[in-house]
């Protein structure tokens, strides 16, 4: 009974609150909906539409009430549901990760894996790799970078131009593209050394736009908005994936029949390998002084300096390494498409990658995979709903910020334990 007594006042308050909202809505609706100018034979007349005002007020009343009720009764159970997520032991996450890798490796051999699916997965994997790369900058070093797509573009153009002008193969261009992107990362890093947070975000956003505008306007080198076509496709140890080529072909070498899907499968494995390289690198470097310095910088720059760390090298290394992975992904993109133009590197790409990192839970490798599937995969499958993509995108971000501000999966694991084994044994003892 006492509990019921305590329950009633919030409900009354909710009702009152909803009624107030309805009154406000009605007042607003009178000029907005309630009257209409009608142009008829006798001149302009005012048409009163009282029912519309009532509908609006009723809708606001119901909506407001539902929201408060949901906030009161649903949110705790939602929270209870999510509270179990971070409790997931680390080992099970690691096992889940390797299961995912095994599944990704075997998938092309499954009967249902048709070309279209593999193609889509390749696209998702590009974003997974970009997410893992950006996570180094944003998640580890805490440097909010809104221009990450610039390095992706630089990698793509670096490969396209190097292969076009110097005839270099994809495998030589790949590390070069990474290196060039890293150099641009450092070039961006210098002017923003003193900036943090929002200011840094704005400058990096500007940097991303500058790169895109340069690509768009530097006709002589980049061919402007028309982009670069006929980019060399990748080869496997010199075996090309075309029907007939100057050199040996993949199909010819293995004595199998040519199929255009072979290249699709090859590209899939290629990006899988590149993405794995990114995540393994990121996980290893997190446990090294370099990675710990990034995290320390994110936590407190002044304390870092008081311990003898040079913030310049710490920041620049984060920018450079983050950028180099975008460069690798960029040259993969170029070789996959065979055609690139500045259009592919607009701000929305940066926003998508950042959203993947934030949604996934900063620092969580598997969270980023889930987020990439959600944000890139789903819109690909539901092409018909493409118009609503941004709506869903925005809605999802708002929900995630309300529901799990730390991202889907995020539990920071220490990079070093005092006594790795006894500690886990101790965990079972209360």
């Amino acid at each position: 009974m006492a509990a019921a007594d305590r329950q009633r006042p919030p409900f009354v308050a909710m009702l009152r609150d909803s009624a107030l909202a309805a009154v406000v809505a009605a007042l607003l609706a009178v000029p907005l909906l309630g009257v209409r100018l009608v142009d008829n034979a006798s001149g302009l007349t005012l048409d009163r539409r009282l029912p519309l005002v009532l509908y609006a007020a009723a809708a606001v009343f119901a909506g407001r009430l539902l929201l408060s009720l949901a906030g009161r009764y649903l949110a705790p159970s939602l929270r209870g549901m999510t509270a179990s997520l971070p409790g997931m032991p680390r080992n099970s996450l690691v096992i889940f990760g390797w299961v995912l890798v095994a599944a990704a490796l075997l998938l092309p051999w499954m009967p249902f894996a048709e070309r279209n699916l593999i193609d889509k997965l390749t696209l998702i994997l590009i974003y997974v790799m970009l997410g893992w790369g950006l996570n180094i900058v944003v998640g580890l070093a805490g440097l909010l970078d809104l221009g990450y797509v610039a390095f992706y573009a630089i990698g793509a153009y670096a490969y396209a131009l190097l292969s076009m002008h110097f005839g270099l193969s994809f495998w030589i261009c790949l590390p070069l593209a990474g290196l060039i992107a890293a150099m641009f990362g450092i070039a961006l890093g210098f002017p923003v050394l003193r900036l943090r947070g929002d200011y840094l975000a704005i400058v990096t956003l500007g940097f991303g736009e500058i790169i895109r505008v340069v690509l768009l306007n530097w006709q002589a080198v980049t061919n402007g908005p028309n982009g670069i076509t006929g980019i060399e496709r990748p080869t496997l140890f010199g075996l090309s994936f075309s029907r007939a080529a100057d050199g040996p072909t993949f199909a010819g070498f293995f004595g199998i029949e040519y199929a255009p899907a072979q290249r699709v499968y090859f590209l899939y494995y290629l990006i899988l390998a590149l993405a794995m390289l990114t995540t393994l690198f990121a996980q290893r470097i997190r446990r090294l002084p370099t990675g710990r310095a990034w995290e320390a910088l994110r936590e407190d720059e002044i304390a870092c300096r008081s311990l003898g760390m040079n913030p310049v090298t710490v920041k620049l290394s984060a920018f450079a390494i983050g950028a180099s992975f975008a460069g690798l992904a960029g040259s993969f993109f170029a070789t996959r498409q065979g055609f690139i133009s500045p259009e592919s590197f607009s701000f929305i790409e940066s926003a998508t990658i950042l959203a993947i990192v934030v949604l996934g839970g900063m620092g969580s490798q598997i969270g980023i995979v889930l987020a990439a599937v959600l944000l890139v995969g789903l819109p690909e499958w539901f092409r018909d709903l493409a118009e609503y993509r941004m709506l869903v995108f925005g809605g999802a971000m708002v929900l995630i910020m309300l529901w799990r501000p730390q991202g889907l999966l995020s539990r920071r694991e220490p990079t070093v334990l005092l006594d790795p084994k006894p500690a886990s044994a101790e965990a079972t003892v209360p």
Binding site: I285, L288, R292, S306
Partner: protein, 279 residues
Amino acid sequence: MSEPAATLLQVDHLTMRFGGITAISDLSFAAKRGDITAIIGPNGAGKTTVFNCLTGFYQPTVGRLELTHETGKRFLLERMPDFRIARDAHVVRTFQNIRLFAGMSVLENLVVAQHIALTRASGYAVAGLLHLPVYRKAERRAVEKARYWLDRMGLTASADQPAGSLPYGSQRRLEIARAMCAGPVLLCLDEPAAGLNTRETNELSDLLRDIRREHGLSILLIEHDMALVMEISDHVVVLDHGACICHGPPAKVRADPAVISAYLGTPEDEAIALTRGRS
């Protein structure tokens, strides 16, 4: 010059102005090697500003800050950027408002403090990425050093917890442990006893004396707890309105009329504690 110079730190004519405010004016003092030198003074006297000048966070308006290592190597701190003062001159500090890497574990805080040594051992990440034995050994050594300080500070049980989740007193001790892991020649502590209870303060006082003796350390100490200051310091410098009004051994400072009047202008119990020492 066979004996190592007895003076570790020589501050000459240090002046620090912020626009129209003169936070420190013409301050000169010296700190001897192996001593605990206390800097005391009422709120806003400029004590933290002295630390900020020493550790390179502020560029002094005027003044010379000279540090001499036991090897005879000399550093002019006012010309060095902050991180080089910590890295090369080995002047390491703590902060009045604790600055830990709150999201990282307690142990990680101590390992990060050994960044310089570990970076070299990891061959600037190359040996580390390849997981070479050189790096593994260096990391194990770093963890052992951290373990030593965790044991010293009684923090071993919470080694793998986020530093930000520790209770206040433990955070203060962790910050000192972190500074010690960075291998200081001169340790600068900014109000290490602030917010500690009496028992914790007594422990801190023992700890500071012990580590000074065992690790050949020199300490510069800012503190409002007069009992603590009088008990452990060898030399006291009293600041008021940015100027040194008195300096000398604790007994002399305690009896100085200028000091008493400076303190009587501020909280009364502090002045009483000052005249009586630890009750």
